[in-house]
């Protein structure tokens, strides 16, 4: 029996191509069927603009908070050796696989008007649900794993000898973190932040439970879809698609850049004559 070596890789390509087609087809057809003439008018809808602003602001605030707390957490999980580190790392992954609605429910129980944390705020007139704060709370919950995991693996990949050398050069651990670890891990962390930001921006499930109002873009999209129909939601969908494309593109570019730097480093393991 003759099996050409090419035949094998060709059938693999075919299988992969099928999935790729499946992924690309909806986007392509969407762009094809969209009535481009109506797009500007529909995007001028003040509610839509308000929703976009809410989304951008909340996602940005959420990612700033995640960056301030999540990067140190990633560092600790990557570098410090303590009991229960494995369990902690597992917990970090969990929000990633929760159904977002479940996340929303869990958050609502705690931060809602009758929750142990939400109640005091509510009685002071600061509602943590159905508010801008509620949006940010749900976005932090679903988006932080991206950042923590990115930071964790970036810090883990750094040769501990760098820190040891820095210590013998008289640098304290705080200075080493700022001047060695953080800059070396920078690109991977920024990529993680971008992905987290996009995740926050597109967050729907948890947000719709925690804070139906004020509308974020995905929630408003859903409102339009269930109220007016598909045609009304299409221009908003276009907007989110565009933002996603730019964001993912940037994230991939950064990851590629840092991988290439690492590759260049590795090539020199057996270096040539000086």
């Amino acid at each position: 029996m003759r099996t050409s070596r090419n035949g094998g890789s060709r059938s693999l390509a075919l299988l992969g191509g099928l999935l790729l087609l499946y992924l690309v087809a909806p986007m392509g057809y969407f762009l094809f069927t969209l009535s481009w003439r109506d797009v500007p008018a529909q995007l001028a809808d003040p509610v839509a603009i308000q929703a976009l602003i809410t989304s951008l602001l909340s996602a940005t605030l959420a990612i700033v908070i995640i960056a301030l707390l999540g990067v140190p957490l990633g560092y600790v999980l990557a570098r410090k050796d303590f009991r229960g580190r494995g369990l902690l790392t597992l917990l970090v992954y969990v929000p990633l696989v929760f159904p977002p609605v479940v996340s929303g429910i869990l958050l609502l129980i705690l931060y809602g008007p009758y929750g142990p944390i939400g109640a005091p705020f509510a009685s002071a007139g600061l509602e943590l649900d159905s508010s801008f704060a509620g949006i940010v709370i749900s976005q932090i919950f679903v988006a932080s794993p991206f950042v923590i995991i990115a930071a964790l693996s970036a810090f883990e990949a750094i040769d501990p000898a760098l820190e040891q050398v820095a210590a013998t050069l008289g640098k304290g651990s705080w200075e080493i973190f700022w001047r060695v670890n953080l800059p070396v891990a920078r690109n991977s962390i920024i990529a993680g932040l971008l992905l987290g930001w996009l995740r926050a921006l597109g967050e729907f499930g948890a947000t719709v439970v925690m804070a139906y109002h004020p509308y974020t873009l995905p929630v408003y999209l859903y409102v339009q879809l269930s109220g007016t129909g598909v045609s009304a939601a299409l221009p908003l969908a276009l907007l989110t698609l565009a933002v996603s494309f730019v964001g993912v593109g940037l994230a991939l570019l950064l990851q590629f850049a840092s991988r290439r730097r690492k590759l260049r480093q590795d090539e020199r393991v057996t270096p040539y004559a000086s």
């Binding site: 210590a167 013998t168 070396v184």
Partner: protein, 451 residues
């Protein structure tokens, strides 16, 4: 603060005494050597790198004391543990660990104290810049100042790492296998460069390596480590010419290592005055030991010392065969003979015609070993011999897979032998140089020398 009494006496010395248990591995190191180019030498897993890291303060030993040039850096009893930041010990790890996000210049600059942006005094920055430029200049890195480590060759990376370590003005420099990451073709040259670097900056160095060529080329003092312990301390000559154990002999690259026993020993100080001599070179007195052959026995005596024992080696002479005018022959043997390592200054290999007894010896034939040659393979100028010793002392050969019982395998490189008499088909008389053959009493019975 408590000061150890050792501290004040230890100027110019590196005194280390460490104990640390890591899983199954037990590090127990104790040495005190003059600062200079100190080489920690041993197989990987001997505990060299751990010792180095303890010196730098990156690893805290369970017990012990570290003193560099009179300054106590660690003392478990006095509860002194100077943090790595304040030890002023430069550390260059195996792959140099340059900061990949900084240029060559910035890497070196990193070692200087940071000037925070709110207090950037012009003068201070300028002083720093000058110091960096000086170091780049000294290590011929000016042209690479703006390059990133990823774009440098191994040799260049090494120079950057050295410049960076020097910038912090260390009192001691630690180099962990500095030539490991380099091509063999570059190593030789960079070893020379390191030696001149050390002379130029007059900085004490502790270097870790498993390469005996590096030791020969660089070391002022060698510390041989094995399985977490110090096996031998000494100069290059001492370690190479008088390895204290079979393991050290193997480590330094000797090939003909045999287990054997000295038939009897006795102090022979009384002979000292008569046989002490000087070498022919004027102004350089070297103590000589003599291999003295009387009728049936060879005697090695060590003059000038009551502590060193002479050795009696039975030789297969019959009284009649040695009864010529040369009944007592003297053959010089290096001093190193007595200190544990058995060297044949001259070795006679004799190929016997079938059924013949060992022949009578000429004066030339004074020898430590008399062997029967069974097989000789001469490849180029090197030789592999299979020999059978012609005396009754027990003699073992290590790890002898392909060697028949009772025979010894001997490798001789081109510089270790010369033929002094060749009679085709009958006799091959070889003179074998010192350092060619090593005999140890304590060779493990299994024959395998452990790494």
């Amino acid at each position: 603060m408590l000061r150890d009494t050792r501290a004040t006496q230890n100027n110019g010395m590196l005194a280390v005494q460490l104990e640390q248990r890591l899983g199954n591995f037990h590090l127990n190191v104790d040495f005190q050597v003059p600062l200079g180019l100190i080489v920690l030498f041993g197989y990987s897993g001997a505990g060299k790198s751990l010792t180095l890291q303890s010196l730098a303060g990156l690893l805290r030993p369970a017990r012990g004391q570290i003193t560099v040039d009179g300054q106590v850096l660690y003392d478990s009893q006095a509860a002194i543990d100077v943090p790595p930041q304040e030890r002023r010990i430069g550390y260059v790890p195996q792959r140099y660990a340059l900061f990949p996000h900084l240029t060559v210049e910035q890497n070196v600059r990193f070692a200087l104290p940071a000037t925070p942006f709110w207090s950037r005094v012009k003068g201070k920055s300028a002083a720093h810049a000058e110091r960096v430029a000086e170091l780049l200049d000294a290590l011929e890195l000016q042209d690479l100042a703006k390059r990133y480590p990823g774009n440098l060759s191994g040799g260049q990376q090494q120079r950057v790492a050295l410049a960076r370590a020097l910038a912090a003005e260390p009192r001691l420099l630690l180099l962990d296998e500095p030539f490991n990451a380099l091509d063999a073709s570059v190593r030789e040259r960079l070893r020379d460069a390191l030696k001149s670097f050390q002379r130029r900056f007059t900085i004490p160095i502790v270097l870790v390596t498993h390469d005996h060529v590096e030791v020969q080329q660089l070391a002022d003092t060698v510390i041989v480590m094995q399985r977490g312990r110090v096996e031998q301390i000494g100069s290059v000559q001492q370690v190479f010419f008088t390895p204290r154990s079979a393991a050290v002999a193997q480590l330094v690259g000797h090939r003909n290592i045999f287990g054997g026993c000295i038939a009897s020993t006795r102090t022979t100080a009384r002979d000292a005055s008569t046989i002490h001599e000087k070498t022919e070179e004027p102004g350089q007195a070297i103590r000589l030991n003599w291999l003295q052959i009387t009728n049936t026995q060879a005697q090695v005596v060590a003059p000038q010392s009551n502590e060193v024992n002479g050795c009696w080696l039975p030789l297969p002479f019959s009284a009649s065969s040695a009864s010529s005018t040369q009944s007592v022959a003297r053959v010089p043997v290096p001093e190193t003979y007595v200190s544990g390592c058995m060297l044949a200054s001259e070795m006679l290999l004799h190929r016997l015609p079938d059924g013949e007894q060992p022949p009578t010896w000429t004066a030339r034939g004074a020898a430590l070993w008399i062997v029967e040659l069974r097989e000789a393979n001469i490849q180029g100028a090197s030789m592999r011999l299979l020999v059978r010793p012609l005396w009754n002392g027990p003699l073992r050969s290590p790890a002898s897979q392909n060697v028949p019982e009772g025979l010894l395998e001997v490798y001789l490189s081109f510089s270790q032998w010369r033929a002094i008499q060749v009679e085709p088909g009958e006799r091959l008389l070889l003179e074998i140089g010192p350092q060619a053959i090593h005999l140890f009493e304590e060779l493990p019975p299994g024959g395998k020398i452990q790494a």
